[in-house]
Every structure is written in C-alpha cells, then in structure tokens.
Symmetry: C2
Subunit: 363 residues, 2 copies
DNA sequence: CTGTTAGCGCGTTCAA
DNA sequence: TTGAACGCGCTAACAG
C-alpha cells in the first residue's frame, strides 16, 4: 500500500467501513485501479503488472471480496457448475461416485449440482426445465438411461453430456465391461468345479437395467462356453429380492452349488437366507456378488470390484474438458474390473469329498 | 393464437425459426407484448390480464423458453440454490439425508449444491470463497461442526445456516437426542439382565465427534443409574474399529455379555469378530448398534433408528423458510429416535440358565 | 499494460 | 393493466 501524508482525524482508506457485500468497484477503489484491471487480475488473465496484481489481490482479500459467479456467467456464459443426475442417492454406489465427481470438480473450482431423478417423469421434468443456458455447463448422468429425446434436447441446447457407468456409442462415457466381468466371475465358479451355477438378477417395474442385462449376458455366455445349463432367477432388486431368489433356489429338485448374484446387495439377501437355513457358505453353496461395496468385505463375500470413485473422477474430468473445449467430447474411458476372491466361494463339496481337485482360477 | 389473413408464401409467425437460446424478448415478440409483461406473467406476478398471461405462457412453451436464473438472480439476489455441506459422501447416512433434502427442494424448485468438506481446511476454503452473495441462498450443514468463525462469516454475509443432525442453541437445526437414545439403548440391555455392558466408541485424528460424545454420555448415565460399571473401548471409526474393539473386549478377564456400539458400522465389526471367533450372538453376547442403516436389518442387528430422511427434509424446509423470510430462522426441530429390537440382543446366558427371568423392556 | 465503453438477460421502478 | 427506461455486477471489446 502507498503511504500518503494524512491530516489527522481525516478518515483514511484503512478506516473506511468495509462494505457488507463488496463488489468489484470497491476493490478497484481500494487498489486504486480500474474495474477491468481488477477483473483481469482476479481472473488470472495475462497482461497485468505483477505489482498491480498483487495490490488488487490484497485489496480483495482485505475486503473479503469474491467474484460473483452469477454476474460473470451472465457475460461469459460459463456458470462454473456441473449437474450430476442420479436415479437414487442412498445406495452405496452413488455416494462413492459422487465423491469421485466432487473431488475432481473441486480441483478445478467447479460446483456440483445434484439431481435425483428417480423416475422417467422426473428426468423429463429436469431435462425440460433446467438446463437452459446459464444454469450449468455440463451434465453427468450416473448409471442412468437418459432417453433419446432427453439427449436430443441437451444437444440442442449445446450442453455436453457425460455418461458414467454406461457405454454409449458416440458419446463421452466412463464404463466397465459388465458382460466380460460377469463372464469372468462365472468362470471363477466353473473353474472351482461348480456345474450348477445359478444367476440371480433383479428387475423392477421399469424392467431390467442395462447393467443387469449385460451381466446376465456374460453369465450366459460363460455357462454356454462350459456346456453348463444356465439357471436364472429374477426377483425385485435389493436384498429382499436376493432372499426371495435364494428361497426359490433352495426349493429346486437339484439346488445349485453356487449362486452368482447380480450385485452385492442381492448377494446379501442370498447369504441371509442361507444363514437362516443353516446352509454353510461356502461349504454347501458358494456365493458371489458384484460391486465390492463396503459390506462385501465385512461379510467375506467374493465379488467383482468396480473402480467407482475413479469412474466418478473420470466422468468429471470429461465434463470439465468438454466445458473447456466449448464443444462435445466423445472419449470412451474403459475401466477395468477386478475379481476379489474372499471366503464365500470354494470348491464344491462333491469335489472336495471325491478325488482331490485343484482350484484353478482365470481372470 | 389470433388468426390473421396472410399472403401465401409470406413467412408467418409460426414459420419463424425458433431461436436456439430463446430469451425473454423472443417470447415478448411472439406473444406481441412487452418484456415486462412477459416477466410478470412468467413469474406469476399479479396485474396481468388472464388472456395475456395465457398467451405469454403459450409463446414461452412453444419456444421452449425457460427464465435464466443467472440473469434474474442478478436482479433479485435470489439464486434458487441451496448448498449442502457434508463431511463425507459415501456413508449411508449422508446419502439418505441428501435424498431428504433433495426431495424437499425439488418441491419448491430449488437446486441442491453439494460440497464435500472432509477436513477443516476444506471447510474453511469453502466458507471463505463460495457463499458470497449470488451463489447460494442458504447453507445446510449435515452432521458437521462449522466452527465459530465460519458461522460468523456466514452471518456477516447474511446467509442463513441450518444445522442438520446437531442441536445448536440459537440456530436453526434439526436433530435427535443422542444422549437420551443411547441411554435408552443401554437400558434395554440392562433390562434384559446384562450387567457387564461395554460401549464401543470411535475417534479419529480430529477427536470424538459430538454425536459420539453425546451417545457416550447417555451410556454412562444409564450405567450409573443402574449401578453398573461402565466399560468404554475407543478405536478408530468404521467396522475396522469395531473389530479391534471387540478383539480387545474378548481378551478381558471378564468379557462383557453385551456390547453397545456407537454406530451400526462399528457394530458390524463387532459382529464380524464374534462370528469368526465362534461366539454366538446373542447367545454368548448381545450386540446393539445405532443408526438402523440398511445392513442392520440384514444382519438382524438391534439398533436405534433415526429418521434420517425426515431430518434432511426438515432441514431443507427450514432453509427454504429462511430464504423466503429473507432473514434468519431459529427453529429447533427435535425428532424422535426409535429402538428397533431384532435378534442380536437377548437375555444373557447366566440368566437363562439360572432361574427363569422375564425380559422386561423400557423405552 | 491500463482505462473506457457497451452490453450479458432480466426485474423493477416509473409513467402512461 | 401495460410499456419504457434503468441498473443488478461483471467481462469483452476497444482505445489509449
């Protein structure tokens, strides 16, 4: 700050009352420069003398000034906000994915707007009303099937969309290969010596989810490949569905020796019924899940791990890139899954009691 | 629409190309009125002829026009956005709370901005930088201890704060009585006939959380009231901590016959170690949790249920009210907890094998 | 390198 | 009941 000769009693610039909601002009006055210089300095734009920039930053800090995004986005058209659409907020998967998105966005100073669009109507209402220019810069759809019309509408508006958790041809997306992962998991059970491997999948009113369908396909392929007969049980989602499914499986003439559940959540229901029925896992039946959520480790469930946090981060990364590029980004980010072998899968009893059989394993 | 005589080949209003990003003036032109009339009509302000209003709404719908929040908030100072601060995104509690907030905000057309502020620095950075005027209308802190300086800063800016999950004197907040709930849970165990009831609590680097402290207090009070000796084990949070704690308890000269864990998550670790050690629950030891998360039901864990969704909804309600009132709201919303008795707690073996003892129970 | 000017899209005075 | 003018706080062109 420049030292000035002052008459005593005269209010100095330091004595001036701090405005409650300082604006850029307050900073400009305090730093003794013009508005545009403040704007440039605070934005980190080039063409500002280092000394001036420092002075401006000091003035801003002293006033507790922060640029109003609303005002600047009115001019630039960039809001600094990214919308994340999720079908649910409660399940483990979405919390983890959001954490990933949040981390990445923080790094570039973007804000995260979260919308829960449980049903098609909500999605529709969202797409219809919200994403008008000057509300968000991009949309990340997590484990969500935006319809064609919704996507078309976003395109029309010029809003980049990133799909997280699903492969969408011609679109920016981050995904894992559910089919291959499910096939790998099924092979793990087959390689242990199981032949009667059942698959539990879930469907709600809306029908199968795509990841559900993809996993089923992988299971069927692996079974066919091994010449084993596929046994598929369909119930509502969640562990309730898993419990119902396991009950049905246990009432079959020849119950399976291994159960592959579409998700860890469903597997929990399977395990619960097994435990209550006095059926030993993996002694009597092997159980395999999918997701590797936090409870899976707790219950020693063999499962397929997805890098969910990373999926969120990468999706956010694509969204940020699309905003910067001011145009659509079409990258496909394919992340790997990982088979996590724990205590819930083992060689079937028939094998153990017969001639000693090795426990092979393939990816 | 008014039918007009047209020369053929002359472009009609219907033929006019739809602007990609229609603005209010486009609507005004299409409806044949002025800008201010459109503004009034679309905002539902009074003083617009019904016929004119209908015409404006039609024009807006045909153009796919939506008011730009950015522009209007520049004038009104209201953003239509509410910030939700959470320490974590992954745990069950936060997903459920966010779902509650989301539901309530949707009803009033507000958007939800989510910030993960895991450590004090992040919180500080957030409070320092973001909530300047024209970014959000209110802040909801979920299970978070904003420091005094942070709160003071928000006050200064005039941003309403709502605390969710904690009682804060003189502030708008939604909470449950952790102390009373923990005391009730402890009494449940005492009433079953347990005397050696251990409490497992968690602390991380930061120290005890307040809910942790409150619950501990309730446990201690109930034990003292019954003339029983308190046994408290402290470990890191999460089920790992629970597992460590249970291991320590099992190595005591006289292990407890009942374990009350600070949270369901911690209780999971306790159950895991019990199961692996061949200790029957509740045969050998009763286990009680706190939260009633989705896994608790699955594992038949007796626990204390909190109305988490409702907490989120009510917090959002207070935030919306504060925005409407354009001033601070100081309501305290006290919600009840509920003891959920499942299969993990029972009369201790000593009682069962001795003279028949009844299973009493108090709230 | 810096200052001046003209809007960004809308709500809100006023006057009609 | 409607319309015209002004300004919300800021950035982007220019000119200096």
């Amino acid at each position: 700050m420049v030292a000035l000769p002052l008459m005593s009693g005269m209010p100095t610039i330091v004595d001036m009352p701090l405005p409650e909601h300082p604006r850029m002009s307050d900073v400009a006055a305090r730093a003794g420069v013009s508005l545009s210089t403040v704007s440039r300095a605070l934005r980190g734009a080039s063409g500002v003398a280092p000394a001036v920039r420092a002075e401006v930053e000091r003035a801003a800090a002293e006033l507790g000034y922060v640029v109003s995004r609303g005002a600047s986005s009115l001019v630039t058209g960039v809001t600094g906000r990214i919308a994340v659409l999720v079908p649910f907020l409660q399940p483990w998967f979405f919390g983890v994915a959001l954490a990933g998105v949040s981390t990445r966005l923080r790094a570039s100073g973007q804000d995260m707007l979260v919308y829960q669009v449980g049903d098609v109507d909500e999605l529709d209402a969202y797409v219809r009303s919200l994403p008008l220019r000057s509300n968000v810069d991009a949309v990340i759809a997590v484990a969500l099937d935006l319809g064609d019309t919704a996507v078309a509408r976003l395109d029309e508006i010029g809003l980049p969309v990133v799909f997280c958790g699903r492969r969408v041809p011609g679109r920016a997306c981050v995904f894992t290969d559910d089919t291959a992962a499910a096939a790998g998991a099924t092979r793990h059970l087959l390689n242990l010596g199981h032949r009667r491997v059942a698959y539990v999948c879930s469907r709600d009113q809306t029908g199968f989810s795509w990841s559900s369908r993809d996993r089923l396909r992988g299971y069927e392929a692996a079974m066919a490949e091994a010449g084993a007969e596929a046994v598929v049980v369909t119930e509502p989602p969640g562990h309730q569905g898993g419990a119902l499914a396991m009950a049905r499986l246990l009432s079959m003439a020849e119950p399976p020796t291994a159960v592959f559940a579409e998700s860890d959540d469903v597997a929990m229901g399977v395990l619960q019924v097994a435990r209550r029925s006095g059926i030993d896992v993996p002694g009597d039946v092997s159980v395999m899940g999918f997701d590797d959520n936090d409870v899976a480790a707790l219950l020693d469930l063999t499962t397929v791990a997805q890098p969910v946090t990373e999926m969120g981060e990468r999706a956010a990364e694509l969204a940020v890139r699309a905003v910067r590029a001011a145009g659509p980004v079409r990258d496909h980010v394919h992340l790997d899954t990982r088979l996590v072998v724990r205590q819930s899968t083992a060689v079937p009893r028939s094998r153990r009691e017969g001639p000693a059989g090795g426990t092979e394993q393939r990816g």
